[in-house]
């Protein structure tokens, strides 16, 4: 992988760069959206390939920046509602405009992004600055013409889907029907129509009658990419539930339950916590699901509920450190996972600004680092290794020198090409694979 570009997401208010909280490519990969802790969304656009420099494939440059959410105050509970953007999902493009959904803990917003590169000139009643003309000076009529202007990107909020959630929204997912989408919080999942903001349908509700009996929450959910009636949601106990909306209005009863029995030899106090699924993603084909829990990524075949078909260890060397990681809260970090366009490689982040890729076909894996030193333009990323005691090669990092404050929680893969976006705290790294190199 080649390092290509690094962007520091600056809040612009003098407080310095803000922590990136979500990264998402649109359906063509032309646009890349990031959300941050300050409620801002920054959209990058890929420059078209230049004929002058055939080797310089399009780079991503800032296309638009806007403030999506503001902090709010919940007077009833005397608590702040964070403006941090939890998720961004692009809508499939249906006309010249681009649309995306962005959400914080409580409110989902639909934004429309349009370009303006022409403006009308030659009005009869208004002058160039827009002031009304003195009618006595108008001696002839003209037809206004469109003249080119500097590109202006305008972002407008088209819908605000508020008051749908008592608990914190952790996922949104646009349905393949392009008309509806779902939003999931810790205990409930709602179905919305993109055009209707004052109503939503509750399709999953796992809130117990007595809150003191609560032992499990929803952690992530997603619609199936092709079947508009199917969706999956994951839980803090490590199970996945596939639901069919045709079966009933309230999908509390799952159609399929995917759960792997616990490995007794790995039993510890922390077994439940590390089994909590932090992210679930359908493959592009729709045949598989990818889940991330604290130490592994797993590929599940939709047809097999008893266990995943593939399990990859992300950082098993942390298994003996779980108590410390529980104490410093790192064990609750929610890592995301991603498929590449052909579903042959999966990627996820780790600590020390490392991220991992697993090739499902060759069964090889690689650990790479997102850092400024290794990411000068055109620099090739060097594979990293974490050594667990025993023989230590040069350049290896020992487990005890890992920096647990540098975590890569959010990653995204271009829908068709080998371009990845990695969010490392407040820096966004974009890497490209120019030559189709093998994993090593």
């Amino acid at each position: 992988m080649e390092g290509e570009s690094i962007y520091e997401v600056d809040s612009g208010d003098g407080l310095g760069a803000d922590i990136i909280s979500t990264v998402e490519f649109n359906h063509t990969g032309e646009l890349l959206a990031t959300g941050d802790k300050g409620g801002r969304v920054v959209i990058f656009q890929r420059e078209p390939e230049s004929k002058n420099e055939p080797y310089s494939q399009g780079e991503y440059n800032v296309y638009s920046t806007f403030q999506s959410h503001e902090p709010e105050f919940d007077y009833l509970k005397s608590l702040e509602i964070e403006e941090k953007i939890n998720k961004i999902k692009w809508l499939p493009q249906q006309n010249a405009a681009h649309s995306l959904l962005s959400t914080n803990d409580k409110t989902i917003k639909l934004w429309k992004i349009t370009e303006r590169d022409k403006r009308p000139e030659g009005y009869n009643l208004k002058d160039e600055e827009g002031k009304l003309k003195d009618l006595s000076t108008v001696t002839s009529l003209q037809v206004p013409v469109l003249k080119p202007m500097d590109l202006m990107v305008e972002v407008t909020p088209r819908r605000i889907f508020a008051n749908g959630h008592t608990y914190h929204v952790n996922s949104i997912s646009v349905n393949s029907d392009c008309e509806t989408y779902m939003s999931a919080d810790d205990l409930r999942i709602n179905l919305w129509h993109l055009a209707i903001t004052d109503r939503s349908f509750n399709i999953v509700d796992i809130k117990p009658a007595n809150m003191e009996d609560l032992t499990e929450v929803i952690t992530a959910s997603e619609f199936h990419p092709h079947h508009c009636n199917l969706f999956v949601y994951s839980s803090s106990k490590g199970s996945l539930r596939l639901c069919d909306m045709r079966a009933s209005a309230l999908c509390d009863k799952h159609s399929k339950l995917y759960e792997e029995p616990e490995d007794p030899s790995n039993r510890s106090f922390f077994s439940e916590i590390i089994s909590s699924v932090s992210d679930v993603k359908f493959s592009h084909s729709g045949r598989y699901m990818l889940t991330r829990d604290y130490l592994t990524v797993k590929v599940w075949d939709l047809n097999m509920e008893t266990k995943p078909v593939e399990t990859y260890q992300v950082h098993d060397y942390l298994r003996s450190k779980l108590c410390s990681l529980y104490e410093n809260d790192c064990i609750f970090d929610k890592f995301e996972c991603a498929w590449n366009g052909s579903d042959s490689v999966i990627m996820t982040g780790a600590y020390n600004n490392f991220f991992r890729m697993f090739d499902r076909n060759t069964k090889r894996d690689v650990t790479l680092e997102a850092s400024r030193e290794s990411s000068k333009p055109r620099a090739i990323l060097k594979p990293r290794r974490v050594c667990v005691g025993g023989k230590r090669r040069k350049d290896d990092i020992s487990v005890d020198s890992l920096d647990f404050t540098k975590k890569i929680l959010h990653t995204a893969w271009h829908p068709t090409e080998n371009i990845i976006a990695i969010a490392a705290t407040n820096n966004l790294y974009i890497f490209q694979d120019k030559v189709n190199s093998e994993m090593h």
Partner: protein, 328 residues
Amino acid sequence: MLKWCSEPCARYMLGKGGKRKFDEHEDGLEGKVVSPTDGPSKVSYTLQRQTIFNISLMKLYNHRPLTEPSLQKTVLINNMLRRIQEELKQEGSLRPVFVTASQPADPLGDSFREAQPAFSHLAAQPLLPADLVSAAPLEACLTPASLLEDDAFCTSQTVQHDGPTKLPPPALQPVKDSFSSALDEIEELCPAPTSAEAVAVAAETAADDSKDHPSESSVQRPEGVPESRTAEPKLMDPLPGNFEITTSTGFLTDLTLDDILFADIDTSMYDFDPCTSATGAASKMAPVSADELLKTLAPYSSQPVTPNQPFKMDLTELDHIMEVLVGS
């Protein structure tokens, strides 16, 4: 680094100091019976459990965020606490009784040693606190382990018992002496009903102490049992309102964390000798973390600690441990 080292020590020392003797015997014998293995299997299970219990409580009640805390995190921590609480409850209700006045310490030790081989294959099993026995029902010390088969926290090693059945707690003997006064002190700090944890602590320390003071008649159990029984219903109250109300309504309503951790308890009976440790094979030479601390504190010297040695975990001793851990 000291930060990692000192807090877990401070947390469980208060409770588990008395248990050290039991562990020392256990570990000393483990060395003979079982070949030492690396890793967490050597760590006192209850020690680790106590640490995690305290950490969990701290997490729930010690921070007041401006925004609503994550429900997922709260649920996971609550589940952890519930599980530990459940275990403590099971152990509490099935704990056999202790030494009678006529039991001298040594024969007790011997009989205890005889029991060891049965325990050897249970090395990884949770060690029940204060599984002291009178000479007669030796099986009593095996008994609790058999319960561990049902315990959700059993490791994969299955318990191979032939014999031991659950014994009802033998008759309780009247409590005397400095133990009960110490117990009273603890109870004062923890207004009734106290938590099973504090009770377990008291019961264990009292029980262990009886080994040192064979002249004193038995134990504390009478104090312990009713307390734990009354405490149970309260503890079994599911964690109230954590999810809806952000102010901390107590998991242990009458007992705040401060009572457990920082109470001014007479520590003279908490024999602890942190400096006699050869760090042993189990320790890693690495920056100290909570996990490593747990590992290194378990395989302490097998020398019996002299009774009534004042318990002090002051900085010089901490430094000494650090040297030993990090040095060589």
